[in-house]
């Protein structure tokens, strides 16, 4: 988890984009090519960043996670449509001959992340997705932000699957006397 301690004022979406651009540059070592691509009206790609292998089409979410996924899909569509333009604009900054050789990745910054979403997105998209959860503390004028990169291990899973009583209740198998240890061990073995 990274704690961003810079003095900042969280008033706009653009400000959050700036903060997460800094995060990607300083913490992840990425090269941020541009912010707010497509202009304010379209706001197609919040942050476009790259390392030597991958291109990160990043969406910064300030509302419901569903919006973030939808905007992320639109961002990818916009990137595909305007690939040539993006390449002309940014290829010289990266030191790479072509951007098209880079593997596109989607990245989403969001404060709320639904349970089990990582596996669902993984199944749904052929393009790899990275999810960052940010947590806002403090006040608008004196905020603190914590950013955490999520992966399948750190993403929340359905709590009731680990609650053995809930499992028994759901299956109606109390009479069959499964022990809590058996249930835990079984679910662990069959975890995908």
């Amino acid at each position: 988890m990274t704690r961003i301690l810079k003095p900042l004022i969280l008033s706009t979406h653009e400000r959050l984009i700036e903060i997460f651009s800094d995060f990607l540059t300083n913490e992840k070592g990425l090269n941020v090519l541009g912010q707010g691509l497509g202009g304010k009206q379209i706001n197609a790609i919040d942050i476009l960043a790259t390392d030597k292998d991958k291109l990160y089409i990043t969406t910064v979410n300030t509302s419901d996670f569903r919006d973030a996924v939808f905007r992320s899909i639109l961002s990818y569509g916009w990137y595909k449509e305007n690939k040539d333009l993006i390449e002309r604009l940014f290829a010289s900054f990266t030191g790479l001959d072509k951007l098209s050789g880079l593997e596109p990745n989607l990245a989403i910054f969001s404060a709320t992340i639904p349970v089990d979403i990582y596996s669902t997105l993984k199944e749904l998209f052929s393009v790899p997705v990275q999810i960052y959860r940010y947590t806002l503390f403090g006040t608008e004028t004196s905020p603190e932000i914590f950013v955490e990169e999520m992966d399948s291990k750190t993403l929340p899973t359905k709590p009731n699957e680990l609650d053995t009583d809930m499992v028994k209740k759901e299956l109606g198998i109390k009479a069959y006397a499964l022990t809590d240890e058996e249930i835990k061990e079984f679910l662990e073995i069959f975890r995908e």
């Binding site: 499992v167 198998i173 069959f190």
Partner: protein, 279 residues
């Protein structure tokens, strides 16, 4: 010199046995000194309708193999009982709770639908089968308690049909543990339903059987798996058996395969038991 039997049935034989008024039960068939009755409880852990569908098709396949087959249907309700899954076949009612599926040239299938409090009568059916000189199969469409086969005085086998997601599998494990708490000697066969790919089903079975072997020291037997199949879904919606449908499909072939496999395993086990008894 005794006359050699013909290689195939002649018209005289066919007409006498199948076109005349002679009841098929009276046909001089296989008479076996060591005939056995196999009681088999079939349970689909995810769907009552699919359970009835599986039982109907397994019963028909057993009959196709010339086995006398009975169905003890504890779940007979409008639309989901085994007899309702025989749409398109001649089913006649006899008495209050007995239905007969008449199959041309094959043994009839008798379906019993006991009412509340009549479960004890199942022992009578098994005893009657035991007294006959033919191999008989009694398929049980049991409810979730699996209690119908508890007091029949024999060791029933079980076919557990399950999907392969975790919650279904743990339910399956719970059933296995429950069964082994009642019957020390039994056979439990596993069938996976609505799987995406066969390789995944096989891997899942290996994991499940290892877990059961480690925890309960009991070997499970894998019969096979059914992929998601549009033809099968249509047959379930139409309440018609898939094994008698004209259209060929993977699911139809699977029923043929798993019943054949089940009969082969049962035969091998029986021979091993008889050999042990002889010693």
């Amino acid at each position: 010199m005794p006359k050699k039997p013909d290689a195939s049935r002649g018209i005289e034989e066919v007409s006498r046995y199948f076109l005349s008024g002679v009841r098929r039960e009276n046909i001089p068939g296989k008479s076996m000194s060591n005939a056995k009755t196999y009681t088999l409880s079939i349970c689909h852990l995810n769907s009552s309708i699919r359970q009835a569908f599986f039982i109907a098709n397994i019963a028909l396949e057993l009959s196709r193999h010339r086995h006398k087959t009975y169905v003890w249907d504890c779940k007979d309700q409008p639309d989901i009982g085994t007899r309702h899954m025989m749409s398109g076949l001649p089913v006649s009612k006899e008495g209050n709770s007995e239905y007969i599926v008449q199959l041309y040239g094959l043994p009839d299938i008798r379906i019993y639908t006991p009412g509340q409090g009549q479960k004890v009568l199942m022992k009578t059916l098994v005893d009657t089968c035991n007294a006959s000189n033919r191999d008989c199969f009694v398929l049980v469409n049991d409810d979730e308690t699996l209690e119908s086969t508890h007091n029949i005085g024999a060791h029933p086998g079980y076919i557990l049909i399950t999907q392969i997601h975790r919650m279904s599998l743990i339910k399956c494990y719970a059933y296995i543990k429950s069964i082994l708490g009642i019957h020390e000697k039994t056979n439990i066969f596993i069938v996976f339903d609505e799987v995406r790919e066969e390789g995944l089903a096989h891997k899942t079975f290996v994991k499940l059987s290892r877990f059961v072997d480690r925890k309960l020291s009991f070997p499970l037997v894998y019969l096979g798996c059914f992929k998601q199949d549009d033809h099968m879904t249509q047959c379930i919606e139409d309440r018609s058996p898939i094994v008698t449908s004209n259209d060929s499909s993977t699911a139809k072939g699977k029923f043929v395969f798993i019943v054949k496999r089940f009969l082969d395993i049962t035969k091998t086990n029986t021979e091993a038991d008889d050999e042990q008894m002889a010693r």
